[in-house]
């Protein structure tokens, strides 16, 4: 059995139930026969549950490992998780910290994570932060 696959199907079912359960309490259809707002989500959720069941059975028979298939993936996993964490942290801090210092630190961190030399890292981060700021803030008038 494929553990990765079964976990994915489980996550799909949870998301589907999150949509399906409230849909039963949505108002009913109109007098002219048009179904109500819950009709389509329930229909779609039912199909997803059916497909998830089929996929669940397939994954029970399947032995494929999707995550950490080979040495490269195992080696890169910490780097991936740190990159995801850094992106999430950046998007949260984006609301509270001014753009230039935050982006500068973020880019220096990413370049360091990807193994670039300090010289390249500093020059690239400064120049690219400046370019992004100029293009979006000055040319496109996006409030950064």
């Amino acid at each position: 059995m494929s553990k990765d696959g079964l976990m994915f199907v489980g996550a799909c079912v949870i998301v589907t139930l999150f949509f399906m359960i409230p849909a039963f309490s949505f108002p009913g259809g109109t007098t002219d026969g048009a179904p109500g707002p819950g009709y389509f989500p329930i229909l779609v959720c039912s199909v997803i549950l059916l497909l998830s069941t089929i996929l669940f059975i397939q994954y029970l028979r399947d032995h494929k490992k999707y995550f950490q298939q080979n040495e490269t993936q195992k080696k890169n996993l910490p780097k991936l998780l740190i990159a995801i964490g850094a992106i999430i942290l950046y998007t949260i801090l984006f609301m509270f910290i001014p753009f230039i210092p935050l982006t500068l630190v973020f880019m220096v961190f990413l370049n360091w994570l990807f193994g670039r030399t300090w010289r390249f890292n500093i020059i690239f981060s400064v120049v690219f932060t400046g370019v992004i700021y100029f293009v979006f803030n000055n040319l496109l008038h996006v409030m950064l």
Binding site: P22, F26, A34, P35, G36, P37, P41, F94, F128, L140
Partner: protein, 494 residues
């Protein structure tokens, strides 16, 4: 007269400048392995919203066409397709490079990609208008089955298990239900957040899926220290002789026709077209043994196929509102952001804009011709850019681009979540395209399904009485069951 105005409109300095910017950007994006046309158009879409529609679309059309063409450059020079559409260009292109004819191979790539693009643009002109006119007869029942047709076709040709494709497509449909429902304006799944009343913003989701998702996948699966061996551009012979050009014409004409048809089928992109056409041309060739060994004909048909798909994909996108591939799905989202709805009504309400789009497609190809023939010697240097540099650039463009759409933090969060979801889909061998298509078609499907049922007091027979519905439903069912039937037939034959 309208056409002259459309072409003159594109030749206005501002519009033409954005077209050139798009071609140059697409040339870089397409040539660099790992950056696809889909990612390029997705990442640049937010910038286009800050421009006038004709300027924004000039840039996106330029990127789309140019990235597909430039995918062939890395296929020829480093034996790695820059975009999936160029996979067949590696078969003969790299062999020509090894034989010392890289300059000739690059020029064949440019000339035949442009010819393919121009041929498909002509097909777009001939077929989009009658198709849109025909689609004007569509009522809610026909639109419902058309949306189903689009979804099932994309799933069936995605090459991955139809169950996986369908599951992702239906998840997309489910997420399209967030926001006010289209008939009774009832709030669904908004979590009391006013930002969600209009539904989940399509563009940040798309940027996340195709941009961040792809980069995370590359971080996870590739060796960042790997060094590329890039061939130099050399060879005394740079162009085909008129005689050789004439010899290649029949195979390329057939390729153009096949590719336009493949492009018009939702989900069947340039990769499928180029492989089909390369195989077909090999079967018909007088020298099939040369294919895969540096055949000029083999390279030319794969290059023609890449770009000839675009006109086909644009035909269904503009006239029916159904995207032919992932890039046209993004373009539909962009049109919607500009307040236009692709489909037959677009030809009535915004006819000059449709003509402008087609004119941009033609002129983009001409710009690619000049750009491609003059810059081939620069590409070995561009291909030496490290992928880690590209990762940082794309991550930043995705984050800032999603924020720039509405100056909204919610969009950045949605983009990040979609990025992680896109990465998981990629690792688990699920196609991402059907999710976007589901999100795009969800509203069309739901509103028309409910309208159709209200016309018949809830009777489903409406979907089985109209000939158009019957044809579309039959093709949809057939496309879903065909892979299983084919598998069974193969088993029996074995």
């Amino acid at each position: 007269m309208d056409w002259i105005q459309a072409f003159l409109g594109v030749l206005q300095p501002q519009v033409f400048l954005y077209l050139v910017i798009g071609v140059v950007s697409g040339g870089l994006i397409g040539a660099l392995p790992g950056l696809t046309a889909t990612m390029g158009v997705a990442v640049l879409t937010p910038i286009s919203f800050w421009l006038k529609p004709e300027c924004g679309f000039a840039m996106l059309i330029g990127v789309y066409n140019s990235a597909i063409w430039a995918g062939g450059v890395s296929a020829i020079l480093i034996n790695t397709p820059g975009t999936p559409a160029s996979i067949a260009s590696t078969f003969d292109g790299y062999k020509l490079t090894q034989k010392g004819y890289s300059a000739l191979a690059l020029n064949i790539n440019t000339v035949y990609s442009v010819l393919g693009g121009l041929f498909s643009s002509l097909c777009l002109i001939f077929f989009a208008f009658p198709l849109a006119h025909f689609a004007l007869q569509f009522g809610p029942a026909e639109y419902t089955t058309l949306a189903l047709f689009g979804l099932t076709m994309m799933v069936s040709v995605s090459g991955i298990s139809p169950i996986k494709g369908l599951l992702v497509g239906f998840l997309g449909l489910l997420f399209s239900t967030v926001g006010l429902d289209s008939i009774q304006a009832y709030k669904r799944y908004t979590l009391n957040n006013s930002a969600l009343l209009d539904g989940l913003n399509f563009v940040p989701m798309m940027i996340g899926l195709f941009g961040i998702g792809e980069i995370l996948y590359q971080i996870y699966t590739s060796d960042s220290q790997e060094k590329l061996v890039v061939a130099e551009v050399k060879g005394t012979k740079q162009f085909l002789t008129p005689k050789e050009f004439g010899k290649l014409a029949p195979a390329n004409l057939l390729t153009g026709i096949i590719s336009v048809i493949v492009g018009a089928i939702p989900g069947a992109g340039g990769d499928i077209a180029s492989i089909i056409c390369w195989g077909q041309a090999k079967k018909m060739s007088k020298h099939p043994e040369e294919y895969g060994e540096g055949s000029l004909e083999g390279l030319s048909v794969s290059c023609t196929a890449n770009n000839a798909v675009i006109g086909g994909a644009m035909t269904t996108m503009l006239s029916l509102g159904i995207p032919g591939d992932a890039v046209t799905a993004i373009l539909i989202g962009s049109l919607m952001m500009y307040g236009m709805t692709p489909g037959p009504q677009l030809f009535i309400e915004n006819n000059p804009f449709v003509l402008t789009l087609i004119a941009q497609l033609i002129l983009a190809n001409l710009v690619i011709l000049i750009f491609g023939l003059t810059t081939s010697r620069i590409y070995p240097k561009i291909l030496k850019i490290k992928k880690t540099t590209l990762w940082v650039v794309v991550i930043m463009c995705c984050i800032i681009g999603s924020y720039a759409i509405n100056n909204s933090y919610v969009d950045i969060i949605m983009m990040s979540v979609a990025g992680i979801f896109g990465f998981i889909l990629r690792v688990m061998d699920f196609p991402q395209g059907p999710f976007i298509l589901g999100m795009l078609l969800g509203r069309l499907l739901e509103s028309n399904l409910r309208r159709a049922l209200s016309l018949t007091m809830g009777n489903y027979s409406i979907f089985f009485t109209s000939p158009i519905c019957i044809v579309l439903l039959s093709i949809s069912v057939l496309s879903l069951v065909w892979p299983s039937i084919k598998k069974q037939l193969k088993k029996r034959a074995a």
